[in-house]
């Protein structure tokens, strides 16, 4: 098994281990994926708790919905995972939500002026009437902090925010047509942090056992992250097992054939990976999980140079010159990527440049210091010319030329999202039956005028009868808060130590209200708990809920930076697409210039590019034939494929240049390298997760096409070209 494949599997595995251990050098943040100007927008889903809502969809096959037992089971089971829960209708008076209610009741005096005496007395009387009922202690405590029925006000605001057309049953949503109940849950941690989310899922499974329902699916960022991670783990387990099997079988086979020492080359590259990691860490301060997964696998491409040198004659300088050219052309690709706006691509490029360079140096040092161990006798391999295979290479070249027209990559981050059939079904149902519409999203940075602009937004939305959600919906401007608070001063003083039912029973409210302070969102380092869903690092979230296309247009005209979630996610793909438009041609151009400088012939330089192009053509044909999709990861896979197939082209053209058109050493090294590539990446095609599947498709199909181009494309063209030159001479 070839090192790059092995390293890829091992590091994917290790990266999962590293995630669990969370060392300080390890980075798994989404910030590293995105350019600075985009991360604030794209990361809204991870940064703002307003988006941390998840739903378990349960289905009742027969009879009435047993609301009472369902709620009881929900209370019982979720109590076991309450430390993970921010808000749930099943745990209304526990955890962060209880603290939120306290803040909300206290700040009533900031939101509203003191009511007229009759209204005020009516509110007190309503509170005391509720308190007269026999109630659980936690409800009674809550009533003591809420003489103004502020909780009803909060409940009304929450209902208008739900966005589903389903019936609301005490916080659960119900669709009578399907007998499905949507159980909401806000998780109290960022969506990427899935530790414990499995236990939440288990709690829902237990609920369904108790009340005889079935889980139709889960929907939401945390459940989605967990589903993705679980699928990746399953895939990596399978791929690792296949990888190790191939490695062991290869070891046995090569040892049996007397070439077991070939595996020493792999060990020579291990320190190179360590150095590449060290330098990457020194430059960036952290290494992202994706860099750990892709960096070593790209750096592992340097094994081609080792194989090319190992199966060659001991003093073959031409071989190492060709290796150096191969290295330079590969480095060109990654130097161009260094100018990407996407931090993750820059980090992968840095790792790859160091990894490839150090690997080359260590392999060359191995050859110099221990030539007896390094050199191996090549197999006697012959690939006779084949019209069929040459024709196939021609077809691949044709498809490579057409690929810019035929390939339609989906560069959106959503393309990398794994969705099980149940999740997809539930998502589609929610959008259709629940008439759920994604809101328009707007972010406001902290500024002196933040309070005013939020208030203006709210007033404008109310004038236009457009539903909106922002901090201003919950808290007026500081000036208004001050006026409201001042109006309460005599009432607060009147009830201090008063031995009346109102003074005595509502004492917690009076005590809290006397401590209430005007919130200035443009200054405050802390914000009231009821606003924390809408704030992240001083940035404030506004959500718009247009009910029609006209309202949506109106919002966009008034606030051009308001965008839907899909538009925000597309920012990543737009950035990537605009970069690929110049990066790929530039990288190919610089590589071609290097080739031209080395071969001093335009034709030979182009012939060296043939394996790259047949690789791309083969990938295009297979993609079209299977109806598979392309993503950001496919592009990375194709870049890897370009790197190694360019080396094959250079090796073949160099061999022809030096007069040996069919040396055993050349074909042994290429066949060994390409075969292990093909075998190594084949299992990834069958992965369930789109990211691994896309990587496997680009590398497997690309390797296959590159091998055909190397054996039957480039030699054919070189022979024809030589014949043509002779005829011309």
């Amino acid at each position: 098994m070839r090192l790059r494949g092995l390293v890829l599997f091992c590091l994917l595995f290790l990266s999962l281990g590293a995630r669990a251990a969370e060392p300080t050098w390890y980075d798994r943040s989404n910030e590293a994926l995105l350019p600075a100007n985009l991360d604030k927008k794209i990361l809204i889903y991870t940064d703002y708790p307003a988006f941390w809502w998840n739903f378990a969809v349960v289905e009742f096959k027969t009879g009435e919905i047993p609301w009472g037992p369902l709620r009881k089971a929900c209370e019982r089971e979720l109590a076991g995972v309450s430390e993970l829960i921010r808000t749930s209708p099943c745990l209304p008076f526990q955890g962060p939500f209880a603290a939120l209610l306290k803040d909300w009741s206290r700040d009533y005096v900031l939101r509203h002026p003191l009511p007229a005496p009759t209204d005020l007395q009516a509110k007190y009387d309503a509170g005391l009437a509720k308190a007269s009922l026999p109630l659980p202690p936690e409800i009674l405590s809550l009533l003591r902090t809420d003489p103004m029925s502020a909780l009803d006000e909060l409940q009304d605001l929450a209902k208008s925010r739900a966005g589903f057309s389903f019936e609301n049953h005490q916080g659960f949503f119900y669709d009578p047509a399907t007998k499905r109940v949507l159980m909401p849950l806000q998780v109290d941690r960022k969506p990427m942090d899935v530790a414990g989310v499995g236990a939440v899922k288990d709690a829902f499974t237990a609920i369904c056992k108790d009340v005889d329902c079935e889980i139709a699916g889960y929907f939401g960022p945390h459940f989605s992250s967990l589903e993705n991670e679980m699928q990746t783990r399953r895939d990596v387990d399978v791929v690792s097992m296949v990888g190790w099997t191939i490695l062991i079988l290869s070891c046995v086979l090569f040892t049996f054939l007397g070439r077991g020492r070939v595996f020493l080359l792999f060990f020579a590259m291990v320190p190179a990976m360590g150095f590449a990691g060290l330098f990457t860490y020194l430059i960036f301060g952290k290494i992202h999980g994706l860099t750990l997964a892709f960096g070593p696998s790209i750096s592992g491409l340097a094994i081609d140079y080792g194989l090319h040198g190992a199966f060659a004659d001991k003093d073959d300088r031409e071989i190492w010159r060709a290796n150096l050219l191969g290295l330079c052309t590969t480095l060109c690709i990654f130097v161009v990527i260094l100018f990407s706006q996407l931090p993750i691509l820059r980090q992968i490029a840095v790792f790859s440049i160091f990894g490839l360079s150090f690997s080359y140096l260590f392999l060359y040092a191995f050859k110099l210091k221990a030539p007896a161990l390094f050199h191996l006798k090549p197999f006697s391999l012959k690939f006779p010319p084949s019209k069929i295979m040459t024709g196939l290479a021609g077809v691949f070249l044709l498809f490579a030329a057409l690929s810019p027209l035929l390939l339609k990559p989906n560069l959106s981050l959503q393309a990398l999202n794994f969705e099980s059939p149940a999740t997809r079904h539930v998502r589609e149902w929610l959008f259709k039956a629940g008439e759920w519409k994604a809101p328009l999203i707007q972010i406001q940075p902290r500024s002196q005028t933040l309070g005013i602009s939020l208030q203006e937004q709210k007033d404008w939305a109310d004038q236009q009868h457009i539903k909106s959600e922002s901090a201003a919906r919950y808290l007026p401007s500081p000036e208004l808060q001050s006026r409201n608070l001042a109006s309460w001063a005599p009432e607060l003083a009147r009830h201090q130590n008063a031995e009346t039912p109102i003074g005595d029973f509502f004492e917690p409210f009076w005590r809290d209200a006397r401590e209430a302070q005007v919130w200035d969102l443009s200054q405050a380092n802390t914000v009231p708990r009821y606003l924390r869903d809408l704030e992240s690092n001083g940035q404030w979230l506004t959500l718009w809920f247009p009910s029609s296309a006209e309202q949506s247009d109106l919002i966009r005209r008034q606030y051009p930076d308001a965008a839907s979630s899909i538009e925000i996610l597309m920012l990543f793909s737009k950035t990537l697409a605009s970069e690929l438009l110049w990066m790929i041609p530039l990288a190919l151009l610089i590589s071609a210039v290097f080739l031209y400088l080395y071969f001093s012939s335009l034709q030979r330089s182009l012939f060296a590019l043939v394996p790259c192009l047949t690789g791309l053509g083969c990938f295009t044909v297979c993609l079209l034939a299977t109806g598979a999709t392309m993503s950001f990861i496919t592009i990375i896979g194709l870049i890897m494929m370009f790197s190694f197939s360019l080396d094959y082209g250079i090796f073949v053209v160099s061999a022809f240049e030096s007069g040996e058109s069919d040396p055993d050493s050349l074909w042994t090294s290429i066949a060994f390298a390409a075969t292990t590539n093909i075998l190594g990446f084949a299992p990834l095609i069958f992965a369930g997760h789109p990211a691994l599947q896309h990587l496997g498709q680009s590398l497997f199909w690309g390797s296959l096409g590159a091998l055909i181009g190397t054996i039957w494309g480039t030699p054919f063209l070189l022979t024809r070209f030589k014949s043509w030159q002779k005829a011309r001479a």
Partner: protein
């Protein structure tokens, strides 16, 4: 002065003598009421299909100096409807039909009705269940003891899962419900005095 002292001493002695005389009754162990007797006690309610009664309530909350006073109306419709309506200090109605409970606050435009989850009804649901006067069920759920002077105490059979510590009941003339005292687990105490019940018997 001497005469006044003598009077005080005499009064003290008389009171002490009275206390000593009544002590055996006061310290006597409460008698457990068997299910058959419970049936007899609540005989007037066995045939009741509709009950309407006003009440006055005093809730003493542990740690608070001032008790909460309220008045209202109780309506029971067999088999499973109970409406507990508070009229003062403000209108509020807790309505329980079967296992479903709704709470209505305010009147007219300000009226607001919401369903109450079972977990939040706590002692109220226990009270409402008691109000159904299902003697067989009461005998299953409570141990009933006679406290004397028409006072009976209902202690839950399963105190750990019961929302109330106990319910004390005073029966008036013709064994009509006169006073209910709810002892909540929190230490709060609710005393409900019923006035002029209107009863409609089953046909």
């Amino acid at each position: 002065m001497k005469g006044a002292r003598l009077m005080t001493t005499l009064t003290t002695r008389i009171l002490l003598s009275l206390l000593i005389l009544t002590a055996p009754t006061a310290f006597a162990a409460p008698r457990e009421v068997p299910a058959t007797e419970l049936k007899t006690l609540f005989q007037p309610y066995a045939s009741v299909s509709e009950l309407d009664v006003d009440f006055r309530q005093t809730k003493t909350i542990r740690g608070l100096k001032t008790p909460l006073k309220s008045t209202g109306h109780l309506k029971v419709r067999q088999p499973d409807l109970v409406e507990w309506t508070v009229l003062k200090p403000s209108y509020l109605q807790a309505r329980m039909q079967g296992r479903k409970m709704t709470l209505t606050t305010g009147q007219g435009e300000n009226q607001r009705t919401q369903a109450v989850p079972e977990s939040e009804t706590g002692s109220l649901s226990a009270l409402v269940a008691w109000m159904r006067f299902d003697v067989e069920q009461l005998a299953k759920d409570y141990t009933v003891t006679e406290l004397g002077s028409n006072w009976y105490s209902f202690a839950p059979q399963k105190p750990e899962s019961a929302p109330l510590n106990k319910i004390d009941v005073e029966l008036g003339p013709e064994r009509k419900l006169k006073t209910l005292v709810l002892h909540e687990k929190s230490g709060d105490r609710i005393e409900i005095a019923f006035e002029s019940p209107k009863v409609k018997n089953k046909k």
